[in-house]
Structures are given as structure tokens and as C-alpha cells.
């Protein structure tokens, strides 16, 4: 009995010391599920190149990311939107992301006008046959309050109208996409990083297709900067990791993000 306890203590001590040797620095990032695929991918590449750094990445939504970094619970708060003014929070813009309005593929809808999208999300239009689709009830899927994607959608597509609260609510980009895939008549919105290559339709807005090229020129309105907030200026490995993401064009393009330097248009309040 005593020998077992001693053995266990030895093992615990050993595992603690090895993990301490293997990971000198650990970085935690959480927040936006639009930015999540990029940060995950980058974390993998960064850890391969720097085995002494351990990066753990999770979602939760932009609001959660900002809240947790403000509470110093994590090192990096990922967000699709700017944080409420707070001097300690430093905004590190790493990329540009486009968002698409997405519909279930069985609807065969390819294009919607901004007015039609506003009417659908305001609840004025409830059947697809009112906007040139089949006789099928519209199922509106919103993101939870606190989602950066939702804020960007309201600001760049829906304003000055308002989103009604009647729709279903899902709390992550991935969930939204799987629900739109499986639900006849569904419409929602999500980041290119989640929508590109999925068996759903990314509709054009006023005839402008949701592509990176159209975001770069500013023809397509539904986009935002991706922010990685730190509490105080980023230093050490955290700074290196953020710079690694912002500068790694292969990683950005692969995940459907756009390098900020490539943008031909700019916005100050996104």
C-alpha cells in the first residue's frame, strides 16, 4: 500500500517535471469561432516549429474572448469586432475575414438583394416563394448575442433594420453550418473560414458573390477585421505567435482569410 503511494508520487512528480521541460511557455487563446480554424491551424504549425511552446485554442464567441482576456483568464482574446473601450486591452489586427449569407442547398437560391435579406431577418418575409424560391417556410438561424459574426452582420447587412428574436439561435460557426445543411428552408450567416467548401449555398448579395476578391476591392460589404486582443501590449511568445499568424499568407489563404496589407479598401470601425 505504502509502496504504491510512493510509486504514484514518483510518477506524478516525473510527469510534472517532463511536462515542465517539454513546455516552457504556454499560450491560451479563446473567442471567435470564425477565427478559430485559423488560430488552430497556426497553433499546430507554430508548435511544430517551436516545440517548447504549448498553445491551447478554444471558441466561445467574440464576446467571451474579450471578456476572458479582460479578466486575464487567457492570453489572447479572439474577436471579429472591436472591444468596448478599455485602455488595458490592446487590439492586434491579424487578418480580414469575409462572411457569407448561407442557405440550404435544396432551395436553389443563388442571389438575394440586401432588402430581401433585411426582410427575411426582420421577419417580414416568412416563405421562400416571396423572394423567388420554392413554397417552403423560411427557418431563420441567428447567432447568440455576444457573437462577433452577428454584430458584423447587423452592422454591415441588416442596419438600419433590426434582427427579430423569433429565429433559432446557435452558439458557434460550426453548429450554424451543420444546422443549415440539415434543415430545409434554413438561412443564416457565417465566416468564409467555415462556409467555403461546405455543401451549402453562399448567396450573392445584390449580385455580388461572397468571394475574397470582392472583399479585397470593397465591392462585397459583409466583412470585418479579425482581432487578437491582449491584456497590455503583447510580449514574448504571445507577440511572436500573433505576428506569425498575421504574416503567414499561406495559412491565411488556406483558411479563406485575407492579409490586411492586401486590402484595397479600409474601415476604421470594424
Amino acid at each position: 500500500m505504502q509502496r504504491n503511494a510512493a510509486l504514484a508520487a514518483l510518477l506524478i512528480g516525473f510527469s510534472l517535471s517532463t511536462s515542465a521541460v517539454l513546455a516552457d511557455t504556454s499560450i491560451t487563446a479563446a473567442g471567435s469561432t470564425a477565427l478559430l480554424p485559423l488560430v488552430k491551424d497556426a497553433a499546430g504549425a507554430y508548435q511544430t516549429a517551436n516545440p517548447s511552446v504549448k498553445i491551447s485554442v478554444s471558441g466561445g464567441g467574440s464576446g467571451t474572448g474579450i471578456n476572458q482576456v479582460a479578466a486575464k483568464a487567457i492570453d489572447i482574446g479572439d474577436s471579429d469586432i472591436q472591444a468596448p473601450a478599455q485602455p488595458e486591452l490592446i487590439d492586434n489586427r491579424v487578418a480580414v475575414i469575409g462572411f457569407a449569407v448561407i442557405v440550404n442547398p435544396d432551395l436553389k437560391i443563388k442571389n438575394l438583394t440586401r432588402k430581401q435579406i433585411q426582410d427575411i431577418f426582420a421577419g417580414n418575409v416568412t416563405n421562400w416563394n416571396q423572394v423567388g424560391g420554392p413554397d417552403q417556410k423560411i427557418v431563420v438561424i441567428n447567432r447568440t448575442r455576444g457573437s462577433g459574426t452577428r454584430v458584423v452582420f447587423e452592422k454591415t447587412v441588416i442596419a438600419p433594420e433590426k434582427v427579430t428574436e423569433g429565429g433559432l439561435t446557435e452558439d458557434a460557426t460550426g453548429t450554424v453550418i451543420s444546422v443549415v445543411k440539415s434543415t430545409p428552408g434554413a438561412i443564416s450567416y457565417a465566416a468564409f473560414s467555415g462556409t467555403h467548401g461546405q455543401p451549402i449555398v453562399e448567396v450573392s448579395i445584390d449580385g455580388v458573390a461572397p468571394t475574397e476578391a470582392n472583399v479585397i476591392t470593397g465591392k462585397y460589404p459583409f466583412w470585418s477585421y479579425e482581432h487578437m486582443f491582449t491584456y497590455g501590449p503583447a510580449t514574448g511568445e504571445v507577440k511572436k505567435f500573433i505576428d506569425f499568424i498575421a504574416s503567414n499568407n499561406d495559412l491565411l489563404t488556406k483558411n479563406s482569410f485575407i492579409r490586411i496589407a492586401d486590402m484595397k479598401t479600409s474601415e476604421t470601425n470594424r
Binding site: 466561445g60 464576446g63 417552403q136 447568440t144 448575442r145 428574436e165 423569433g166 434554413a186
Partner: protein, 294 residues
């Protein structure tokens, strides 16, 4: 010699008693902290934001950005899923309780009882996941609901979740009845069914009430399982196959991203406070039902 043993046991006793006192004191302290914290935070909507409690309870307009956190939709959602769960799961659970204590052969009851108790131990996220993958598509394909996320789906998941509680407690209520009741009824020539319906059910009524109330308490507080199937739409359901939201689902959905000190955070605390009040009322009802029995 004797006096030293006596003294030592005296010391042990004193230490043990103090440890027990400390534990009891700590529980009371923790309870008080929770109560005070929730009361202070939960009433900020009314005292700091000056939003009327009447509007909070009865206005369906949940517009926190516009400074109007009406919670009527979520209160209605909580009440509706709970009523659904208890109407479906309550009688069913009591029937199984009767079966276990009065009808099932002993060997069968001995297998069934632990199996039912096992159901209590299944994490609620598993129930929710099963609801999402089995029930939601079923409702989508066979009812008017286009998405499958619905009040009915959440109610069914909840009904299954409260079954173990209702079954165990109602079985206890029946087995604790004096055997003379059964014997007397059967001796008078009543059939087994008549005995159950006319003698046992009324005699066990206060125990059954406790079973149902604790089932309701479980249903009111359940969060994750409901969140996965109810659709989380902040509007009154238009039918049982229509999505809606409950107090618990809106709290868990919005709390992580709610900024401190905003009217949204205060409103969520007020909802948590309301849940606490509901729980307290339910516990009082249980006490009342138990007192009636003795």
C-alpha cells in the same frame, strides 16, 4: 489510567464535535453567500437600471441593447417545458413506481431498480445529445416543424430525465405504506387494480406529491439538455412543435459573453434570482407535503 483514557476520549470527542460544527457552519455560510450574492446582483435590474419588475416578468420584448430586458418569453418557456415534462413523465413515472412496488415479481424489481437509478447518473449533456441526434430529425420529418427544434422535443427529453426521480420516490411512497392497507382491501374482496386505485394511490398521495415536486424542480433547473433541442428562439412558441427558449438556456447562452455591469448582465442575474425563488417555493411545497403525511 482510567482517567487518562477518559480524558483522551473527551479530547477526541471535542475535536470531532468541533469538526462537525465547522462543516455545518460552512454549509450555512455558503448558502448565505449564494443567497446574498444572487439577491444583490439579481435586483440590480430594478434598483440600478430602474427597469420595472412588472415589465421584467410580463414583457416579451427582450431587447437588452435597447435597455428593455423583458423576460416573459423565457419564463413562459420554462413553465411550458416543465408542465410538458411533468404531464408526460409524471403519470408514467408513478405507473412504473406502482409496477415496481405492487406488481413486478421480486426478482424483476431487483434488476429494474438499479437500472432506473443508473439513469439518474447519465450526464444531462448525453440526454441532450441523444435528443439532438434522434428526436430533432424525427420531429423535423414528421411534423409541421421545419427545423425540428421545438418545445415538444425539449419536453420529451425532460420527461425522460425526470423519470428516475419520479419512479424512485413514488415507489418509496408505495412501499412505505403499512401492509395492513393492502391486506384489508384484498380481504374485503377488492381486486388488485381496485386496491391500487382506491386504497394505495390516495394513501400515498403526499409521497407522490413529493415525487412530482422534485421532478418539477429537476425540470426547472435543467439546462444543457434543453439548450440542445429547444432552438433558443427568444419568442413565444406558436405551438408545441415551435422553438422557444427558457430561463436556463438564455442564461447559459449569454452569460459567458455578457459584459460586466451592463443591463444584459443584470437581466441574466435577475433570471438566475428568479430561478432561485422558484426552487425555494418548490422546496417549501415539499416540506408542506411531507408535514401533511405525518
Amino acid at each position: 489510567m482510567i482517567s487518562s483514557i477518559a480524558r483522551r476520549s473527551h479530547t477526541t470527542e471535542r475535536i470531532a464535535l468541533n469538526v462537525i460544527r465547522f462543516c455545518a457552519g460552512f454549509v450555512i455560510f455558503a448558502m448565505a453567500i449564494i443567497l446574498i450574492y444572487l439577491t444583490v446582483e439579481g435586483t440590480k435590474t430594478f434598483f440600478v437600471d430602474h427597469f420595472s419588475p412588472i415589465s421584467f416578468l410580463f414583457s416579451p420584448d427582450y431587447d437588452v441593447d435597447g435597455g428593455h430586458p423583458g423576460a416573459a418569453v423565457f419564463i413562459a418557456g420554462t413553465l411550458l417545458v416543465t408542465v410538458f415534462a411533468i404531464v408526460v413523465g409524471g403519470p408514467f413515472g408513478i405507473a412504473v413506481g406502482v409496477f415496481l412496488s405492487e406488481i413486478a415479481p421480486k426478482a424483476m424489481a431487483q434488476v429494474l431498480k438499479p437500472a432506473i437509478e443508473l439513469l439518474v447518473g447519465i450526464p444531462s449533456v448525453v440526454y441532450g445529445w441523444l435528443g439532438l441526434t434522434l428526436l430533432v430529425p424525427l420531429i423535423r420529418d414528421h411534423t409541421s416543424s421545419p427545423s425540428g427544434f421545438s418545445l415538444a422535443g425539449a419536453g420529451i427529453v425532460l420527461a425522460i430525465m425526470i423519470l428516475p426521480t419520479v419512479i424512485s420516490l413514488s415507489e418509496d411512497a408505495f412501499t412505505s405504506l403499512p401492509p395492513a392497507l393492502r391486506e384489508g382491501s384484498l380481504a374485503l374482496g377488492a381486486t388488485r387494480f381496485q386496491t391500487i386505485m382506491r386504497v394505495l394511490l390516495p394513501s400515498a398521495s403526499s409521497g407522490l406529491a413529493v415525487a412530482l415536486i422534485l421532478g418539477i424542480a429537476r425540470a426547472v433547473g435543467e439546462t444543457l439538455a434543453i439548450q440542445l433541442v429547444i432552438g433558443n428562439a427568444a419568442s413565444f412558441p406558436k405551438g408545441i412543435f415551435s422553438p422557444t427558449a427558457t430561463l436556463t438556456t438564455v442564461i447559459v447562452g449569454e452569460m459567458p459573453s455578457a459584459t460586466q455591469g451592463t443591463i444584459q448582465e443584470h437581466a441574466l442575474f435577475s433570471m438566475a434570482f428568479l430561478l432561485l425563488l422558484i426552487a425555494m417555493v418548490l422546496i417549501l411545497l415539499v416540506r408542506f407535503a411531507l408535514r401533511k403525511r405525518t
